[in-house]
Amino acid sequence: MQSALVPAVIEMRGIGKVFDIGAMEVHVLSDIHLDIRRGEFVSIAGPSGCGKTTLLSLMGVLDIPTYGTFRFLGQSMSGLGRRARARLRNQHIGFVFQAFNLIGDMTVIENVELPLSFRDGMSRRERADRAASALADVGMAHRTRHYPDQLSGGQQQRVAVARALAGEPSILLADEPTGNLDLRNGETVMALLSRLHASGRTICMVTHDERFSSVADRTIRLLDGCIIDETTYRQRQREAEAGLDERRSTESFP
């Protein structure tokens, strides 16, 4: 459901990213044109090394594009300093990582409170309330005093999702959220993300798994740093009915 009437959270025009590795330049992303609108669930798929995570880093203003125009919530990101980018991430972006990235010497509740602790003017009680609420949303309210190593992988990822949600972000960026999980836990996390999307969250997810990418409204396929294909859920449904989906997969990723 991509409507021009719905405001874009992310707008990328001709974005490219080049890494200097010694004397060599590696063009990781080239000429990316992409919009993600409020309430959308977009998945990014592609083989290893195609630039998925780099694209997600650019969306999350963790990195700066080498060229092109990038607007977040209508505001240009060019020339934004580290501090301003950090503030933007804290207010508007939630991250979920493949390896959960919970801090081992913090309890579950402390991990969820962590991004809120970087906000000015938020009281300790408010932080605790919001963290508890986020944990309740992901079904982890009963494990607040536990440490990450006392949780299963699926539970850790649910805590990570709670941490991403605690700050009420404009967009949730998930990098292979099921990559370190078994099938059952992976499905649990995906169900959680679907539920969040259904409640109006904007989500962008990088995934290898075709089954999980199909949960998204729209799937963007990358190859060698370029977008080679973009399909909507309806398109995919039609193609599935016509038996074209198999062909698309083999053509896209030979």
Binding site: S57, F97, A99, F118
Partner: protein, 800 residues
Amino acid sequence: MRSPVDGLPRAWRALWRPRCFLPLASLTLGIGLAAFTSALTMVESLLRTPPFVHHARIVMYGEEDRDPASRAASPMFYDAIGLPPGATSHGAAQVPESVNLRFGERVRLARAQRVDAGFLPTLGVPSVLPEDPSIAFERGIMLSHALWRDGFGADPHVVGRPVGVNGTAMIVRGVLPSDYRLLADIDLLIPLSAANMSRDSAANLIAVARLAPGVSGDSVTRQIRATLLASNLPQRPGCLCVPMYGTTPLDVVLTSNARPVVLIFFGCSLLVLAIAGMNLSNLMLTRALQRTQETCLTIAFGGLGWRPRLLPILDVVAISIGALVIGLPIARTLVIAVRPVVPESWLLSALPIDLHWRACAAAALASVTVAAMSTMLGSLRARPDQLLRMQFASGKTSLVGLAQRARRLLVLVQTTIATLLLVFGVATSSHMWRVMRISLGFEQTGASFVEINPDANQFPQIDDVRRATDIIRVEAMSEPGVDSAGLSTWLPVSRGFFMPFRLPNGKVSYLQYGLISPGAMESMGINLIAGRPIGAGDLATTPPVAVVNQAYLDRVDSRGIGGWVTPASPHGENRPMRIVGVVADTRLAGAEQAVLPAVFLPFSQVDTDVYAFVRRFAPTFVIVRGSGQEAVAAQDLQKLVRRAAPGLATGHRQSFRQLARQATAQTRRNAALAAVFAGMALALACIGLYAVQSLEVTSGLRDIALRDALGATPMDQLGRLLSRGLGMAMPGIALGLVAAIILERNLAHPAVETGSIDVGVVAAVALLVMVAALTAVALPSLRAAVVRPASILRNEGTHS
């Protein structure tokens, strides 16, 4: 099977990964080694090896001196005892005096010591050149090695050459060894004959005896006291009681002053070395962790044996060599820097203090030992199968946590020690500042002096000396820029010369004694409190007068102007002198020493016999004071004396500023040494903190990147990292301060003159260590605070 040699190239490459490891490890151990080696050199040079054969059997005998470890003998006592019972030989020497030495056309003021015929044989000191037995002892002199080398061009035929000593023809009898020294530097030994000996009971001789094997000093002491009780030796005024007589081993006499200070600083150097060792352990611990994966793989592939041990052994060898290369030059620089501030009385040898092969060998041994112990401490004590299970179970070993705790413990200990040493350094320095502010009682700027020796051959009568002093004073006053000039046998900062006086209560006491010419007090910049100074009108024919200091009024006789001072010398007539002036007190032996009562007499009124005695033991100084300049240039002053009194040699010109510095020399030396060791300890602790913070930050990069992703600003990150780094240092700082307060009494050794550890010192140290710790942890924290989170999180799979 491959031999260990095959693994060497790879081990060599591993040594340089990371590149900073070897330089950092070598530097940290090198600093510790420099402190240890320089302190060991001091111990070796100042406490261990007097240059005399079987020195343990040599004793000094006589009555206890002002310095309790030393002894002095009066000529009467020396004659009465003769060869001490149980001794194989004995000898005596007077305190060194200045003489006019003429050889060829050259005349110089030389330091000479009168010794009797038994002195050198008792010490067991041979001549470097064969002595000529035909030269009578009374006519022969022994040159010091330095004078033979510098004054005679190390002429191998110098024995038999004629020289003039105070106008008397003498012959060079031999040359002393290059390391010969007994309590003071001298240029030559001249004969001490009965005629040279004073007739009174003043203890002005150094008497030494060589004991027969198996004879103890205590038994000799008992026999000396028994001899004294049986004799009718007249008692010296104010002091002679038999229990004060006895023997003291020469080794004790020579090392007693230096021992406490040198041992305290040697202890400090060991602490610095310990901190360096802990730093090294920390580095080795990290290295062992970095090699865990490799060790696991080696074990997994069945590569047990020499291979895992080769790399640490190579580390130990390379770090030891690196530390020696860095540490020994620093140690030598330290020794050279400390050399000028070592008091003369501490030196056992005439050779300059320098790194000895024994100290270097000890340094090499210490280097290898500390490196090996640090490697052992830093290596992870885990069984190979445990390592393997841990590595493959979770991708990392639980030893990481263990290593982190060990690192923090080492930081705690080294910060504690560094803080403790810093308290010592700051307390000593603050004491120095207090001492430097004490007024010495004389004006230091614009005045300078040279020593002269109006000897009895050139100036046989007191009138000759009076004429010479008058001419020198008038000549000096005619020099441009000179405001006042005078001669004195007394200087504001010096040990002083003491003579007996009869006190108003009838008792006799030794007081400081100075002969001065008109203009001398003004030249020395000593304030006149009341009355008048010694003037040109005070002549041999006018009533005798004296000037005293304030301490005389306070402690001897408060009558002041108009009062009378009565000498009690066995020489001369002891005519009472009327007090005509009172001058301000000046401190003699040091800024902190108590001011002693002093009596000043005019040259013109001194009795001939008294002067004959005084000039043998008290040097004479020409003092000039000029406005707008540091008095007269050295050459001008020497020319001036030569013009006034040809044949009179002059010593080196010194300014009163230099003289004043002597008053605080000991305090400044102690403060400098304490500051150097404290600085080294602090530097090493900072290196340790830096290394640990770097490791903590590097191992926590994923957390840092994550926080960045979650919206932490660089300032948030920096604040967190700095507070964690300071958190490591704070317990050590607190412990060090508490330990310093508890150990205050032990730290405040009188020999080192540590000031009190007050609130100011504690606050200053706390601030200093915190600033240093903050600086040490700031650099790695700053680097980490600006990492690119994207690049770290991209590799999260490998980081996890």
